[in-house]
Amino acid sequence: MSSSLKLLGEIRQSSERRPFEVLKLAEPLLNKGSITQAGDEVWLVYEQVFLAAVDEGQIDVAKAVLEILHNRFGEESQRVKRLYGLVSEATGHPEDAKKLYDDMLEKDATNVLANKRLITLLKSQGQYVQAIQELVSYLDTHGNDFEAWLELTHLYLDQHLYSQAAFCIEEVILQQPANHYFHLCYAEISYTMGNLDVALKEYLRVVELSTDNLRGFYGVKLTADRILDITSSRGSGKSKGPSHLKVENAPQKAMLERLSQLATERLLAIYSGSSDAMKKTLEEWLKL
């Protein structure tokens, strides 16, 4: 029994949501009542089981666990209240949930949990503009919550507002400079916006931080080749590419060619272990 508890604890630590496994582990514990072995962690386990049950759609289990939590922590507990909101959302009553969260926020404007649930609710209902507004006002207060900035980046991307998304991902990078995934995101946004010089540098940062990063090298090759294309055509007088593409701060031609070569080489190396069909596709792509 205690090994299940340990596993549940590890899943909590890594912040993963593995609803199926959590339920499978927790079911015997709950039925046999041996969950009390967890001591004070019992409540954390209950919360975890609740979230898993709601994820899996097992509302009765969720409601039963919620009863137990309610009996322990009472009406006024913020964490328990938002779980009620979650149940309303899961059973298809978003208006009830919204009312609950609005109430919680009125009573206490600093309540982070309710704020975040409200934003998620708006998002799930497709009210993106409102979700963005709420998130922006949340970030006005809590400017150091990089996960919120990341969420805002994705919201803006959904709305194709690239320069706003770029601003948000810059905030994320400012707070988490060593995470190569954020640099990758920034590189791709920059490429889409047409800032090829920034994109190239960011892609290079990705492959510096994460050796042989596939998306990183794809990006390097694409960007380097495109810049070479544009600068050569611009240099020769014929403006080939669209004029909004920014390549002013890009490296010189020789450097670009070396980078492109490096990217080709690494891509071939990365795919050297895969099937022949994949290799063929890669080679054809590389020739472009």
Binding site: A109, T110, D140, T141, H142, G143, N144, F167, E170, I173, L174, Q175, P177, V198, K201, E202, L204, R205, V207, E208, T211, P251, Q252, M255, R258, L259, L262, R266
Partner: protein, 274 residues
């Protein structure tokens, strides 16, 4: 010749009654008082003041400035300049201040703010809780247990300690290693920290040494402990910090770094040509 050499080993026999009635009681009393203090402090400490949303905003705005100053090489120059301009302007205008009018307040006004009063009272109460028992016990020991030797220290000390540790007994020749009860009190003060950690868990209020450091810092700082922070000053300070930063984008020579990393180039050339 014999008179010039200090006698090294004075052996005295102490009444075992001293051990039973002084040594152990002092320790026991100190432990009990410590536990009592700890529980009392828990009772007296109110809920930590719930921060108001404007206060949080204020604090976080300062943190943003700090993060920007710290991690500025990781974003492009244009992005940095944009943020620097915005934050410096905001700090100067007091956009993030909890209470816009408070820009003009002097420290005394800030202290009059009711919330800050509570925080300061709390701090002072805690200090009282520390000082009073210490003083009481010391006085009690001086009163009851002075005038005789209690223990022999296993290590030698300089002559100056004689006055403090043998306060009740005026003898010119007795080794400094024989000390009175007050020194046993000091030994307990430092030694019982471990015992309290076992009994009461890590963060306990029964620790005597913390009060001593608190008393010395109070004298050194010369201002009320727990004085509310003046955010306007901090904002202006941060603004100055930000304005003098010379931004160097970390990714300026990233091309060379990547080539070196993958073995295409031996080392990085510091050239002005890219």
């Amino acid at each position: 010749m014999g008179g010039l050499i200090e006698s090294t080993d004075q052996t005295m026999f102490l009444d075992p009654a001293i051990r039973n009635w002084v040594l152990f009681p002092i320790t026991v009393i100190m432990v009990l008082v410590g536990v009592f203090r700890h529980q009392l402090t828990i009772l007296m400490t109110g809920q930590p003041a719930k921060p108001d949303i404007k206060e949080i905003r204020q604090g976080k705005a300062l943190m943003r400035g700090h993060t920007l100053a710290q991690n500025n090489p990781y974003i492009p120059t244009a992005a940095f300049i944009e943020r620097k301009k915005y934050l410096c302007q905001a700090y100067e205008d007091g956009t993030y201040l909890k209470d816009k009018t408070s820009k003009e307040k002097s420290p005394t006004d800030l202290m009059a703010d009711p919330k800050n009063m509570e925080a300061m009272m709390d701090g002072m109460k805690k200090q009282m809780m520390g000082i009073i028992p210490q003083t009481l016990i010391m006085g009690w020991i001086q009163f009851f247990f002075s005038g005789f030797i209690l223990i022999k220290l296993p290590f030698p000390l300089g002559l100056r300690f004689k006055q403090m540790l043998q306060s009740g007994i005026m003898t010119p020749n007795m080794d400094v290693r024989w000390v009175s009860s007050i020194s046993w009190y000091f030994i307990n003060l430092f030694g019982l920290r471990g015992v309290f950690a076992l009994l009461l868990g890590g963060e306990n209020s029964a620790d005597g040494t913390r009060d001593m450091t608190a008393m010395s810092t109070m004298g050194a700082m010369g201002q009320q402990p727990g004085q509310p922070q003046d955010f306007n000053k901090q904002f202006l300070g941060m603004k100055d910090n930000l304005s003098i930063i010379y931004h160097e984008w970390d990714l300026e020579n990233i091309e060379q770094r990547v080539l070196v990393k993958y073995g295409k180039q031996a080392r990085i050339f510091k050239s002005t040509r890219k």
